[in-house]
Symmetry: C2
Subunit: 433 residues, 2 copies
């Protein structure tokens, strides 16, 4: 059974703190294994990739077949039914339109000292996207990772995707094609991350690696961080629904279950000011659980990490939600815009009863790669910003240097950095000669 809490109860704070502190993922200690795999790929390149793919994916590759050929991709994509292709294209168009608005602007101005200041954004040159194999091989995630990279202007975009027993997911390949991906390699695990970070004879290295993966992939991304950039390390998915008494219990139950069905460690929380709705949603969850294909997973998630919290008013609901800092937040209330104003920490907000979280997973437009495990307190979802970087610009004139140079010299000397001071002084002396 999920946790039921009433925010007016005496022991609420203790129980809520427990909910916040619950550790929802026990990654096995894979770090040593991953370190060995990375060392192997660095030492033996393609040969290591081929051996490891034979071992883990039961697939015999050669340097020539590490990468999907154009004709293989075309042949597999041809299998995709028309409605799925249309849906993927609609999703891609909407994601692209949303992310194009994220491109940051360059700036350059002259300040009152006469100094010219500013910054310029440039794309990462090459990026690699990890796409999981098997059941968790989601074409929607290919779009969500690849489109922001291409919008940012990344020139070379490579995908790595394991194909256990040689079985590829045609929809993943189609999503890659629609998003403009340049290279697709049939490798996975820590070895694929190592190949992207360090390069092999066949695979040139990239500058940034994004995309979800299992504990081995996460550990490998942590290890290559610094050599390349990485995105966040995603934890299990989460949803928090704030609903008033007019919420539709059936819809809310399905929204809660759409997180729960992802993973036994996923978390679904309902906060409501209506005890009647709390009861009705709980009943609806139990009813839907009976018919879900993934009911074993969803039921375990709801039982172990689910929570229903009754509050006196919606302000309290917003305050509690801010302490959770959920990945997904649905506001199924009469005035969702007003309530959204009170939200300070959340990865994505879905406003009103007509906006199920699943819309955001596929076709809404915003990214579905979002901060988990309370990290929305300090981080953001994936965006174009993850594939660009800022170079700051400064240009002094003689007059500007005369105006502000002496202060730089004073501070350099106070920090005992003599050459810093002299580099300014030498120019000021020249100006005074």
């Amino acid at each position: 059974m999920p946790v039921f809490l009433n925010a007016s109860d005496d022991n609420f704070e203790t129980a809520f703190a427990e909910l916040l502190g619950a550790k929802r993922e026990d990654s096995p200690d894979v770090d040593d294994i991953v370190a060995g795999i990375i060392a192997d790929v660095r030492a033996r390149g393609d040969a290591a990739l081929i051996d490891l793919t034979a071992k883990f994916d039961r697939l015999q590759l050669t340097p020539q077949t590490l990468r999907f050929s154009k004709s293989e991709i075309e042949a597999l994509i041809a299998e995709v039914p028309g409605d799925e292709r249309d849906a993927l294209e609609l999703a891609a168009d909407r994601i692209r339109a949303y992310h194009e608005r994220q491109m940051p602007e360059d700036a350059y101005w002259t300040d009152e000292s006469g100094a010219e200041l500013g910054w310029r954004w440039t794309p990462v040159s090459a990026a690699g996207l990890y796409v999981p194999g098997g059941l968790a091989s989601y074409p929607s995630s290919v779009l969500m990772n690849a489109i922001p990279a291409k919008v940012a202007g990344v020139e070379r975009l490579a995908i790595v995707v394991p194909t256990p027993d040689g079985v590829a997911n045609p929809l993943v390949l189609l999503a890659a094609q629609i998003a403009g991906v340049d290279e697709i390699y049939r490798i996975g695990g820590a070895q694929a991350v190592a190949a992207l970070a360090y390069g092999t004879e066949t695979i040139p290295p990239v500058d940034k690696i994004t995309g979800p993966g299992n504990a081995f992939v996460a550990a490998a991304k942590r290890r290559v961080f610094g050599k390349v950039g990485i995105d966040m390390i995603a934890g299990p998915s989460e949803i928090l629904v704030i609903a008033d008494g007019d919420g539709n219990p059936d819809w809310i139950a399905l929204d809660l279950l759409s997180q729960a069905e992802h993973d036994e460690s996923a978390q679904s929380i309902l906060i409501t000011d209506s005890p009647v709705l709390a009861e009705a949603v709980t009943t609806a969850v139990e009813r839907h659980l009976e018919t879900l294909e993934r009911r074993a997973i969803a039921a375990a998630s709801w039982r172990d990490y689910g929570a229903v919290i009754v509050v006196d008013d919606l302000d309290r609901a917003a305050a509690l939600s801010n302490r959770v800092a959920p990945e997904h937040l649905e506001l199924c209330v009469a005035d969702p815009d007003a309530l959204a104003e009170k939200i300070t920490h959340a990865g994505a907000i879905f406003l009103g009863g007509w906006t199920p979280e699943a819309i955001g997973d596929y076709v809404g437009g915003p990214n579905h790669v979002l901060p988990t495990a309370r990290s929305a307190r300090f981080s953001s979802g994936l965006s174009v910003m993850d594939f660009v970087k800022r170079t700051t610009l400064a240009k002094m004139t003689p007059a500007a240097l005369r105006a502000i140079g002496p202060s730089a010299e004073t501070l350099a000397n106070s920090e005992s950095l003599q050459a810093h001071g002299l580099s300014v002084r030498a120019r000021l002396t020249h100006l005074n000669e």
Copy 2:
């Protein structure tokens, strides 16, 4: 002696690759020690901080004296000479003015389906800044870390700074006051990072930790990453100067030395199309080295990691610089703006001979916390963006859901995520009833 290379030589590629690959920092293996310290602070809180500060800083604290009192700060600040105070205030004003332009904008729009989409930026609630003690206790770094946080709207900003033998740097305290820092604790090392991340009886936890530190501090930041956000882990400083034959050899030599004097692992590189200038700068470096107070450090850095590269033309210089992706790039050439257009990877660019890099360390306005070790290929200097995070917004209308909902359902089913599909279908069914 530094490396001398000519880009036309046959073996240039090999030598240049070696320069790029040189490992300039051997952090001792401190990770186990740091893990123990963090566990101790989590278990014993203030008591652990007090014991560790007695041990490492030879300073006996109590829970009451962990934090600097207002009157202590005022008394120490009163010692600061007027010219240093003025310089710090000028620097703070300029840094604030620059960073205020970085505040990102919210967006909210209605697309052609009728869906309302957008995003909203909110500040991190609480941030902690690490300030090293002793020689590397730089007031300028306090400004560079604290001002972007305050511009972003961070409500609670705490500094941790070790005070070995109880000796505090009055300029650091003054910089903190000018920048609007709310709390200052006299603790350092991994224990200070642990206290900021997990909190103790006296120190409330923060959401994000930034600021430079030694190998212990860097290892601690890596370990608490995820529980809180961190900034980049900074490596040794770097400068690359591109100069034509009209460059002033004396100024360029001092600019190269102003990085070299930071650290024996710092790196200074000159790329020029003038063999005469290359020679003159080298001579000037040797001459200035004789008189520098920090000549032992600067000479070791120049000898072990310095490089002078002669190229046929400045386009080649830009291309080589892009492969280095330097932290600081000076363009001491006749037309620095034109050359800057060819730069794709650099932390900060200093345009023209009147802009010594030291201006950027103190009073230029842009941040001096910049990506090192070639990470300008994929990351940016510290900015307001490090202290805000984006929440995406989506609001469907019945019409919008009718238009795009079926595609979401199709994709959910193709990914075998049944509850996702049902959450959309339940609403569509209602609309069709």
